[in-house]
């Protein structure tokens, strides 16, 4: 890293290694920057809301004020939580999330307006506005976010509970697939929900984060095992057969998810995350090649065996041609029609026809944004995601401990990969697989899980930027390969 050993004044030598600020001064927290950017995001979101109201020819009612104020208040609280519990966190991450979440709220509200009075699919005319519910979910998400920051003062604590998290995550991931239909109903072809009373939750969203913690902890503790080379093949060092265990286990889980829950998106997301974690931990591309080979094999077999996989692929190849087929290209076609009609500049917020796009406020919300805000708006949203993921990755790169690097890298990649899978599906770049667009889509589970994810990223970035409290006992740091054993050791 940036070694500038000029220890003078009161600053410790370690601090100058950790941060790029000049020694002797506390590095700036940049919380002021965050606040300004949050205010900017709030401005954009409020403007978007007003546009929707104007385009829908509604008077600016009190309800709007409610939504706007709720939004401002929530993120002001989130900002205060960061200021208090993670003062050195990356200043760009929270504003990006706030902008995405706010835009999502506006679009969900806009879709509510479009559906008012229109008959729903089952012929009833019950209007069920969900924007307010999403505000509540946002509030709960931010509470979780703040709680995570408060109670997790050091992300390395998580590594201690790696196996516990792994077990809970695995159970959560598999639960809807194995439970009977009355508690885990099949909705839109996917069996990924748990219904408890009036609540529907998607445990897979939380499993995503839990399993990432597990894999990061596991890989850091067993890291040297994976770097032992097996045979050389085609210029690559293949891992030894016995070390392939975790990869095969992950592959098995991914296939099980694909088969039992018919959830191609989660399966792909999960497997992609494991691959990236393996690659980062071992620094060896062989894992990626091997993993992609395994997944492709599994996917081809699934494609041969299961009609729901075949349908997705056929719909991807020719959405318009399969427009009238049951389970065919209708959804993708409508999405493409919306996107194409939006064109470069879009129809304008509130001036499009999102009611024609199916699953408009969950999986296909990117299509609504593309229709109303045009290519310009969609590109902006994608770039916000990119900034968000890259800032998360930046924290992972500059944090000192391996577990933090691995977890941060995995979380950032997960966010970006999820965006790729869903937006790629909506724009027909890849076959459509139903997962949510982080922070945009309506849905509590996704929002809560992603707020925890963001809290972890902020925690890691805070660790990366904060000055170290106490000087480390010199002269010698342990060799980097041994470092992890110190980290995961339970304190006396």
């Amino acid at each position: 890293m940036k070694g500038s050993p000029v220890p003078t004044g009161e600053g410790s030598p370690g601090a100058s290694v950790a941060t790029s600020t000049s020694p002797g001064l506390r590095p700036p927290t940049r919380r002021g920057t965050e606040l300004v950017m949050l205010a900017f995001a709030a401005g954009i979101v409020t403007l978007a809301l007003i546009l929707v109201e104007l385009n829908q020819e509604r008077s600016l009612s009190l309800r709007i004020l409610w939504l706007g104020l709720a939004y401002l208040g929530l993120f002001a609280c989130a900002h205060l939580a960061v200021r208090r519990w993670a003062p050195y966190a990356d200043p760009a991450i929270l504003p990006c999330v706030a902008l995405l979440n706010g835009l999502g709220l506006v679009v969900i509200h806009r879709i509510d307006l479009a559906l008012e009075g229109a008959p729903s699919a089952d012929g009833t005319t019950v209007w069920d506005p969900v924007a307010f519910k999403q505000v509540i979910w946002t509030a709960i998400g931010l509470v979780l976010f703040a709680a995570t920051l408060k109670f997790l003062s050091d992300h390395r604590t998580l590594a201690r509970f790696g196996y516990t998290f792994g077990l809970i995550g695995l159970v959560a991931l598999m639960l809807p697939g194995v439970l009977p239909g009355f508690i885990a109903p099949e909705i839109n072809g996917a069996k990924i929900w748990l219904r408890i009373g009036p609540l529907s939750i998607q445990p897979g969203e939380f499993a995503k984060v839990l399993l990432m913690v597990f894999f990061a902890a596991f890989l850091v503790s067993k890291r040297d095992l994976f770097t032992i080379a097996g045979r050389r093949f085609l210029g690559m060092d293949l891992p030894r057969a016995r070390d392939l265990g975790p990869l095969f286990a992950a592959w098995g889980v991914a296939v099980a998810v694909m088969v039992l829950q018919k959830d191609l998106g989660s399966s792909l997301l999960f497997f992609g995350i494991v691959l990236v974690l393996l690659y980062v931990a071992t620094e060896r591309a062989a894992w990626v090649v091997l993993g992609i080979g395994l997944f492709s094999g599994g996917a081809i077999i699934a494609w041969k065996l299961f009609t729901h996989v075949q349908q997705r692929v056929a719909n991807w190849q020719d959405p318009i041609g399969r427009y009238d087929v049951f389970g065919g290209g209708y959804q993708i076609s409508q999405s493409l029609f919306g996107l194409a009609t939006g064109g470069i500049g879009g129809a304008g917020l509130g001036a499009g026809r999102p009611e024609m796009i199916p699953e408009r406020n969950t999986d296909f919300i990117a299509a609504v944004i593309g229709e109303e805000l045009g290519f310009v708006g969609l590109a902006a949203v994608l770039l916000i995601y990119m900034v968000l993921a890259l800032r998360g990755l930046r924290g992972a790169i500059s944090v000192r401990d391996s577990f933090g690097k691995l977890l941060g890298g995995g979380l950032a990649f997960a966010l970006c990969f999820q965006v790729f899978i869903i937006v790629g599906g909506v724009t027909n770049l890849i076959p459509m697989t139903g997962i949510t667009a982080p922070f945009l889509s309506y849905g509590g589970s996704s929002l809560l899980a992603n707020y925890i994810l963001i809290a972890l990223l902020l925690r890691i970035s805070a660790a990366a930027r904060a000055p170290q409290k106490a000087p480390k006992p010199k002269p010698q740091q342990p060799a980097i390969a041994d470092q992890h054993t110190v980290m995961v050791e339970r304190p006396k």
């Binding site: 009609t341 590109a379 890259l390």
Partner: protein, 494 residues
């Protein structure tokens, strides 16, 4: 670990760039394909939200109007006197799209045409709703009405096309059976579906088709005027002599008879003049005439009248009239009397009559006289366009005189008392073999123009399958009275 992390960062950027690239493809480069897809109802709904332009006929009578509604589609298309104009004006249906003028002038009517750009911009600035431009047709309300009444009075299936020979303006274009486009334009989707189902039922005579431009029929004896024109161009005159035999064998065959109507000889002698042969519509003489002229010159002459024109737009698209392959001499004889594989649209046959009437100059037929902005100011006037010289004016005069004789020889009712008419009838056999054709009622044709010396209207009339006369139908008995009534409506009382 930082190197692989940086590579993961690269991978993330690649993913976002891929998404951006694909979004560019979907929303910008290839957007038109999906935007204009007929399954994409957004564009249609947007069009409905705009006040669509009107379609009027020559005297300003509105045939396609708009009415404001309170439902989701803000404007309802209303067709006045719908069935009379149905195939020309077409329909505008949320479910079934558009046809006719509604289709070909859609951009103008819905206001998206580039010629309305300035007005759109001003509407944007002033905050008024943009509105479409108007289309004024060349149709003459009275002629159109008479033509429609004549065809429908006896329940005929057929078509009438009337043109102004000097300009190519289409005065009437009727196709029956017709339908009421208002049902398809309804905002009630059940009503639309019921109407569509009825209109497309197999035993309903296919009313949606515009027989004037899309119906291809054997022209029968009406084609003899084209053969005569070819012979005149080839240096023959009206006194050129041809066989008068009642029946001849087709060339190259020993036992394939080629008879006159009822097998009657054309005259007392061995031969007969071209003039008499046309007046009496003798098949044997015209078979021989076609044989002498030859395939090449006959094709050239036909093309000069407008055959084999693949992209004729009036601006409704017109099916291509053609002679067929004519593989041998026998086929050439049969083609000479408008049978075998010769196929023409009623519009094409009206063009033949109009071209002769216009001294051999073929005018481009057209239906739109002008397009008007929403403020009723003219944006574009159609100018008459003479596209080809089919005949010398001398030969056209000779042919006109022969057609006057033909009219004199033609029976049927409704002869015009004070107006001289030049005409040719046709009784086109339907079906391939003669066995088949004897059991199927023939199509009755009548092409004509009047007044013969100073033509103001040229027409083509076809009544499918004998009309009300069945096997005994002839062009003179069934089609001629309709044609005469239509010409009379235009010429008398003006």
């Amino acid at each position: 670990m930082n190197t692989p992390l940086r590579r993961v960062g690269m991978a993330m950027m690649v993913m976002i760039v891929l998404l951006l690239g694909n979004a560019t493809w979907v929303q910008v480069i290839n957007a038109d394909e999906w935007r204009k897809n007929s399954l994409n109802r957004r564009v249609l709904l947007d069009e409905y939200a705009r006040k669509r332009g009107l379609i009027t006929v020559a005297d300003g009578t509105v045939i396609a109007d708009v009415k404001e509604t309170t439902d989701r589609l803000r404007y309802l298309r209303v067709y006045n006197n719908g069935p009379v104009y149905a195939q020309v004006a077409g329909y505008l249906s949320v479910t079934y799209g558009t046809s006719g003028m509604e289709r070909v002038e859609n951009d103008l009517l819905n206001g998206s045409d580039d010629r309305l750009l300035a007005r759109r911009v001003s509407a944007l600035i002033t905050g008024r709703d943009p509105v479409g431009g108007n289309v004024q047709l060349t149709l003459d309300a009275k002629v159109q009405q008479v033509a429609y009444d004549q065809l429908t009075a006896k329940g005929f299936t057929g078509s009438v096309v009337a043109m102004k020979p000097g300009t190519g303006e289409i005065l009437a274009m009727v196709s029956t059976p017709s339908y009421d486009p208002n049902r398809l334009a309804s905002h009630d989707s059940n009503e639309q579906q019921a109407a569509w189902k009825a209109l497309t039922a197999p035993d309903n005579g296919n009313p949606l088709i515009n027989r004037a431009t899309q119906g291809l029929y054997p022209p029968g004896s009406t084609y003899k005027v084209v053969v005569a024109a070819a012979a005149l161009a080839d240096g023959k005159n009206k006194d050129a002599q041809y066989t008068a035999a009642g029946t001849i064998n087709l060339p190259g065959t020993s036992n394939a008879p080629f008879p006159n109507f009822n097998g009657q000889p054309c005259g007392p002698g061995q031969t007969v003049s071209m003039e008499t042969a046309l007046a009496k519509s003798c098949n044997t003489a015209f078979g021989e005439m076609a044989g002498q002229v030859g395939k090449s010159k006959l094709t050239t002459q036909s093309n000069k009248f407008g055959f084999n024109n693949d992209d004729l737009r009036v601006p409704l698209a017109v099916e291509t009239s053609s002679l067929g392959a004519i593989p041998d001499e026998a086929a050439l004889y049969q083609s000479g009397i408008g049978q075998r594989d010769v196929r023409v649209t009623p519009l094409q046959n009206a063009m033949v009559a109009a071209t002769i009437a216009n001294g051999g100059k073929r005018m481009q037929p057209y239906l739109v006289s002008k397009i008007l902005g929403p403020d009723l100011k003219s944006i574009e006037d159609t100018k008459p366009d003479d596209v080809d010289t089919a005949m010398s004016s001398a030969n056209a005069g000779v042919l006109r005189d022969m057609m006057i004789q033909s009219e004199v020889n033609t029976g049927g009712e409704g002869r015009l008392s004070n107006i001289q008419v030049a005409s040719k009838t046709g009784t086109a056999e339907v079906g391939g073999s003669s066995e088949e054709s004897r059991n199927k009622a023939p199509h009755a044709w009548y092409i004509a123009f009047a007044p013969a010396q100073k033509p103001e209207i040229a027409i083509a009339v076809i009544v499918e399958n004998g009309g009300d006369r069945g096997l005994g139908a002839t062009g003179g008995k069934v089609a001629a009275p309709i044609g005469r009534a239509v010409m009379n409506a235009y010429l008398v009382g003006r």
